[in-house]
Amino acid sequence: MSDNTMTAAVNDSDQKAPLEFLVKGEHHPQNGTLLGFWLYLMSDCLIFACLFATYGVLGRSYAGGPTGMELFDLNLIAINTSLLLVSSITYGFAMLQMQANRVKGTMFWLAVTGLLGAGFLGLELYEFHHLIHVGAGPQTSGFWTAFFALVGTHGLHVFFGIVWLVTLLFQLKKHGLIPENKRRVFCLSMFWHFLDVVWVGVFTYVYLMGVLP
């Protein structure tokens, strides 16, 4: 008899334990956002892979028009690359300020990052304008189509990154460093650093290899 009551008691507590566990398991919805955002970045990576493949295939189809070797200005690209690279570390400073719960410092470094990104975008637009002006527009040849598609898509990403960054500055000003904003700042950091990774591919594959004989 006593044995039976024992098992009944154990069963009772057994039935309660898994219920509590399930409730605990539901407690981390934020976890999903970071993983989901990472998956988005990976799918974005595939878009860039297709554009890189297109550029690789059309890389010599000049159709008698100007070539990259004649028109690419590596000094400009070096400045552009350094702007983007410095913006990576300034975003890192923003992350460190956020970790220390300093909202002013976070906003300051985010703003610096945004300005560097805007500088990058300005120089890129200047380069595009110059190229189109000297007769190397996207309709000139397969090579220039692929070039503008690849580099332009990257530039578009930087543009939307800046839009996001400015939105985030207003959010931070209004609400401060609430968990939601921290999550957003972290997601944007992944986006920003991801764009830098793509740019490594662009300056190596398009510009540096493009000017080699």
């Binding site: 595939l46 892979a49 493949a53 295939v57 990576s88 570390i89 220390a100 921290k182 490594v200 080699l212």
Partner: protein
């Protein structure tokens, strides 16, 4: 940094901990890995283009890994390993897309050139 206590890290919904050392290391490495390829190309260091291409591609690959580790905080245990799994899957797809396109189109160009018809 001094007012930065351990409490802050925990209730911030699983955002990975970042450190100045990590960013500084990543930045220094990234600068080195960027400057060398630019110098190799702009200074015409190697005679043959093929050598330069191989070397700067190697530098780009290393730099991408540096950015992944130090800036994107990639490792094998973030998000229970799902980040890394998604990344590996994506890298396989990227490799198939790039290598496949270049290989197929190269063969097409070599074998279908008008000059070969005669």
């Amino acid at each position: 940094m001094s007012e930065h206590t351990h409490e802050h890290d925990h209730h911030d919904d699983d955002i990975p901990h970042v450190s100045l050392k990590e960013y500084a290391t990543g930045f220094v490495l990234a600068v080195i890995l960027t400057v060398i390829p630019f110098w190799l190309v702009m200074g015409n260091v190697f005679e043959s283009s093929a050598t330069t291409v191989m070397v700067i591609l190697a530098f780009a690959l290393v730099q991408i890994v540096v950015h992944m580790v130090y800036f994107l905080h990639m490792n094998f245990h973030s998000e229970g390993g799902w980040n890394m799994l998604a990344l590996i899957f994506t890298l396989i797809l990227v490799f198939i897309t790039l290598a496949g396109s270049l290989w197929v189109m190269y063969n097409l160009n070599v074998n279908m050139m008008p000059g070969m018809m005669e």
